[in-house]
Symmetry: C2
Subunit: 653 residues, 2 copies
Amino acid sequence: MKTGSSFLTHVRLNDSFWNPIRETVRQTGIPYQWKALNDQLPDTEPSGCMRNFRIAAGREQGAHAGCVFQDSDIGKWLEGAAYTLRWHPDPALEEIMDGAIEEIVAAQQPDGYLDTYYIINGLDRRWTNLKDHHELYCAGHLLEGAVAYYEATGKRRLLDAMIRFVDHIDSVLGPEEGKLHGYPGHPEIELALMRLYRVTGDPKHLRLASYFIDQRGRQPLFFREEEIRHGVADIDRKSLFRYRYYQAGKPVREQEDAEGHAVRALYLYAGMADVARETGDESLFRACRRLWESAVRRRMYITGGVGSSEYGESFTFDYDLPNDTVYAETCASIALVFFARRMLEMDPRGEYADVMERCLYNGILSGMQLDGTRFFYVNPLEVLPEACEMDERKRHVRPERQGWFACACCPPNLNRLVASLEDYMISLRGQEVFIHLFLGGEAEFETESAAAPEAPKTTVQLQIRSDYPRDGKIVLTLRLPEPARFCLRPRIPGWCASFAVRINGQAVSAGPEEGYLRLDREWRDGDTVELNLDMPVRLVQASPRIPEDAGKVAVARGPLVYCLEEADNGKRLHLLRIGKTAAADFAAAWKPDKLKGITELTCPGIRESEEGWEDTLYSASLPIRETETRLTFIPYYAWANRGLGEMRVWVRR
Amino acid sequence: MKTGSSFLTHVRLNDSFWNPIRETVRQTGIPYQWKALNDQLPDTEPSGCMRNFRIAAGREQGAHAGCVFQDSDIGKWLEGAAYTLRWHPDPALEEIMDGAIEEIVAAQQPDGYLDTYYIINGLDRRWTNLKDHHELYCAGHLLEGAVAYYEATGKRRLLDAMIRFVDHIDSVLGPEEGKLHGYPGHPEIELALMRLYRVTGDPKHLRLASYFIDQRGRQPLFFREEEIRHGVADIDRKSLFRYRYYQAGKPVREQEDAEGHAVRALYLYAGMADVARETGDESLFRACRRLWESAVRRRMYITGGVGSSEYGESFTFDYDLPNDTVYAETCASIALVFFARRMLEMDPRGEYADVMERCLYNGILSGMQLDGTRFFYVNPLEVLPEACEMDERKRHVRPERQGWFACACCPPNLNRLVASLEDYMISLRGQEVFIHLFLGGEAEFETESAAAPEAPKTTVQLQIRSDYPRDGKIVLTLRLPEPARFCLRPRIPGWCASFAVRINGQAVSAGPEEGYLRLDREWRDGDTVELNLDMPVRLVQASPRIPEDAGKVAVARGPLVYCLEEADNGKRLHLLRIGKTAAADFAAAWKPDKLKGITELTCPGIRESEEGWEDTLYSASLPIRETETRLTFIPYYAWANRGLGEMRVWVRR
C-alpha cells in the first residue's frame, strides 16, 4: 500500500475506565501537585520548585531548594495540565499556568540560559557537570511542557523562551571546536528536542538531538574528561555499573542490553526511536529494537515494571526479577510506554502496544492512589509490611503510597501520561488505521483514495465504544460522508487467545498479522465492526528462567494482572496456594462499590496451616496441614487502597 | 542426684571426621594466618596486626594499620594455636607464640593499657568511644588468648600482662563515682573475664563482667552520653536498629528478642550465661533462655546460620530467613556454639547440643575451604554467581571463599573453635556424664560414689569410637579399675527418630529425657554401650512461617544438611524439583575421593525445561516441560570447593 495516506485530525477519549482516573488527575492531582510545587501542602516537605524560579529572577531571596533537577517538576506539571486543557478547557487553570510561565520566563538569563540551580548558585559553574547535574534534563522537561502548552493553547510565551534556551544550548554543546562535546547524564532532552522539531521544523533541533545520541559513550568519554577536570577519581573504581549507569559505557549503537538507571535508559531509547524514525537511520532503529527486546523480553515484570534494583534504580541482568526487593519505578514504566509508542510509529507490531497496555493498566496505574493524592515510586509485586520496616534490603519498598517525594518525578509523570492517553490510542500509516488501545472515544481522520489520490480527501469519524477492561466487547462505528476504502487494523492483544469479529453483524474470519487485524474494504457510513475479545481468567506462568517465580502463577484477566491482598485473604499470603485450580474454576464478579469498581476474581485454593509449628523451625516429621479456602484476587493497580497489609502477585501452585 | 560429683580430667579427640580438619587448621590454617598477621601473604591486603604492636612499642615507625579492632586477630590466633598445643605439642610453634607475646607485651603501657590503635593514635583519646572503638573487645580476645596459652603451657607472661590490663580497665570503668559507667560496644570481654575468673578466682574479675552486663542498656544510656560528648547527633535518627544494634536498647534482662549485630549479640549472651551460671542469677538465666529461643526458634537458618541481613550484620525479625541475601556470618554461628555450650553447662538439654552440632557440621565448617586456606565470611543457602556480581543486594555474598579479609574475624575464630572441639564433647554434672557430640576419642574423669562419698574417687576412662557423621554407630567403652556407679547420658540428637542401645551386647530399652539417655548403673571395666542412631535421609520442611522456604524441602542426613551444586547438577538449580520423591527413594553412597570423602546422596527428580520460552517472559499457554533427572546432593559444608557455580539448599517440591 504505497499510495494513499491518512491524517489523524483529532482523538477524543470517552472511556468508562479511564474517564474517572483522568478526572481524578484533573480535579485532584493537578491542583494538589500545583500546591506541592508552591510549598502549600501541610504535611509534606516543601518542594521549593516555583520559589526557585522567583529567587532566580531576583523576586525573592533565598537558597536553591530541593534536588538539582527541581525545575523539571514544573515542566512535567505544565505538560500534564496542558493535556487536560485539550479535553477540558479551563480558563482558571490556564491563568495559573500563564502565571507559572511568567515566573519561569522571568528567571531566564539574557543569553537564554534557564536553570535555577546554577542561576542561584553561580552561573560560572554551569555546564561543568553534565554527568550529574541535570541541566539538560530540566531543559527537556520544560521544553516538553512548552510544546504541550503551545499545542493545547497556541500560546508561544514559554515555547519561544525555550527555543532561546535551546539556541543557547546549541551554542555551548556540539561537535564544533570550542564547544563541549557532551551530552546529558540523564537523557530526556533528546526526545524533547524531537517534539520541538516537529513543531518548528528547524533542522537545528533535529541535529542537536542526533548529536546528543551519537556522541553518547564515544571515546574519549566526555564524562570521564569532566571528572578529570574536577579532579574526581575514576567512577569505574567504585560503581557496580561504571558509566553504564548513564548508558554511556559505549556508543548507543553498540549497546546490547538495557542497562543502568531504568528511566534514563528508556528516555534515551525513546529519543533514539524519535531520531531513527525522523532520519530513517536503520542502524539506530536496530539498536532501538535490540534494547527493546532486552528490556521487555528479559528484564520486565509481569506488571510492566522495569528496573529490578534500587541500587542505581537500575536494570540488573537477564531474568533477575525479584518481587520483593524490586524497584519498578512508576516513571520507568511510563518511560517504557514512551519508548513503545515511538517504536509503534516506526514498526507497527502488537508487541509494542501489548507492553504499553501492560504498563498502563498495571505497573503505572498502581503508582497512584485511587483518590489521586498519594503515589508509589516503587511498585513491588510482593509486600510484607514488616519487612519494609525491618529489612534494609526492602526499605525502599513502601507498603503504602506517599503524599509527596523529595524526588517528585513520578506524580507529574503520571499526570502527563494519563492526561494524554488519547495520543496512545490510534495511529495511521498510509491507509492503515491502527487501533492500539481499546479506549472508548472517537477519532477523526482524513483519508485519500489509493485508486484516485487526486480525489478530495474523505473525513472519517471512528467511534469506539467499550467497557474495556471489564469486558472484551469493542464496537467500532464509522461515520463517513461517502464510501471510502481504507484498512482498519484493530489490535488483537497478545493475551487474547480467542476472539470474534463481526462487520455489520456478519461474522468475519480474520487472523492478526503482527498483532493487528487487517480489515481492508470500502467502508460506508454507519458500518460497524464488533470485536469480541474473549476475556477468561488466565493463569500466567513466568519464564522458567526467572528463579523468583518458579512454581508460581499469576492471575490475569484481559490486560489486568491480579494480586492477593491481606484485606481479602488474611495474613501470610505465602501460605496460600492455587494448587490444581484451573483458570476455568475462577469466578469473576463485577463489584461496583469495591475499589471504585473492579472485577473481582475468586477461586478455590489451599491455605497451609502453621498449626503445630509454633516452636519448631525445621522438621522432617511435622506435617504442614492444608485447609481448603477461597482466594480473592483484585486488580494489581488497586492494591494498597485499604490500609497497610500484605500483597502478592505470584501465587504458589 | 544431690550427692556425688565427677570431674573431667582430660578429653582427647581422635575422630575420623574432624581429625583431618583439625590437622588442616594446625598445619595450614595456623601458619597461613600467622603469615597474614605479619603481612607475608603475597596476594592479600596486608593486615598490619603484628606491625601495629611493634609500632606501639616504639620498635618500628608508622601509622596504625587496619581496623580499630586489629589487635583482636592476634588474640584469636594465639588462642587457636594454644589449643593445638594441647593435642599436638610443637616447640617451634610455641617459640613463635612466645615471640608474638613478647611483641604484644612490649606495647603495654606503664599503667597496664594495651590497645595499639590508641597507643599509636593518642592515648588522650582512649576510653572516649566505647560504642564503636572496640578497646574492650580487643582486650577480651587478648585475654582469651592469654588464658588459653596459660592453660596449654603454664606460661603466665601474657596472662599477667592481661591481668594488669584488666586492673587498668577496672580503674577506669565501673559503678563508682569518677569512673565511666560504660560497657563495650562489641561484647566479648564479659565472657573473657569469666574465663579469667575461672583461672584466678579473683572476685574482681567476676564483678567487672557482671557490671558490664548489668549496666548495658540502662538509662541514662552511656552510648548516648558518649555521643553527646562528641557532639554527635542521636543515632536514633538514622539507624534502623538504633541502639539495639549494640544490644543496648534496654537492660539485658528486659530484652525479648535476639537483635542487632549477631556476633555482638551472641558473645553478649554467652557472657551472660557465664555470669548466670557462676552467680546462680535466675533472672539472668531467664533472659538467656528467652534470647536463646528467639535466636534459634525463630531466627536461625537450617545450617545454624544466624543474622539474616548484611545491614548491621544483624538479626532482623522472626522468620525472616532469605536464602540468597542472607548474612549468616561464620563468626555468628561460632558465637552461637559458645552460647549453646554455656547454656548446656547450666541446663543440660539436647536442644543446645543439637544447635551446636547443626552449626559445627554445616554453617561453621562451610566457612573454610577444604584445604584450610580460604574462608567465607557470609554463608549463603542459595547462590547464583551472576547475582553476586550484578545485584547490589547480593554483593556481600561471595560465591567463592576469599584468601583473607580486611575484617579478618572469621578465619582465626574457626581455628580456635575447631582446635578446641574436645571442650564441647562431654560434660559432667554430679554423677551424670553427658555426651553432647559424637566425636571419637577418649575422656577421663573421676567419679565418687554417691553411696559412699568418703570412699576414694574412681578414675574412669571413656573411649568413644564412631564414624560419625558417616554413620550413626557409636561405641562407648569404659575402663575403670573397680566397679562404680554413675549415669552415662549420651545424647539422642533431635534429628534422630529411631535408635537402638545395647549394653554389653544386650538391647536396652531407654528413651531420652530432654535429649539425653539415662544409663544409670554400676559400671564395670570393659563395659560397652553401643548406640545405633538410624541415619536415613530426611526431607526437612521449614516452618510455614518462613516465606522463602515455602514449597521447598531441604535434604539432610544425620547432622549434615545437604545442597545441590552446579558441579553435579548443571546450571539453573531453581529448575530442579524433588517432586514426589520420598526420603526412602534416595541412595546414599560413600565417596572417599570426592571432596575429601563424603556420603553423596542421589534421588530421582524433575528438571523443568526452558524450551520454547526463549523469547517469552510470561505466558498462559506455553507449557513448562518436565524431564526426569537424577539429583545429586553433597554436604553443605563442602560446597564451593570445585570452582564457581550455583548452589542451593532448599529445593522445590
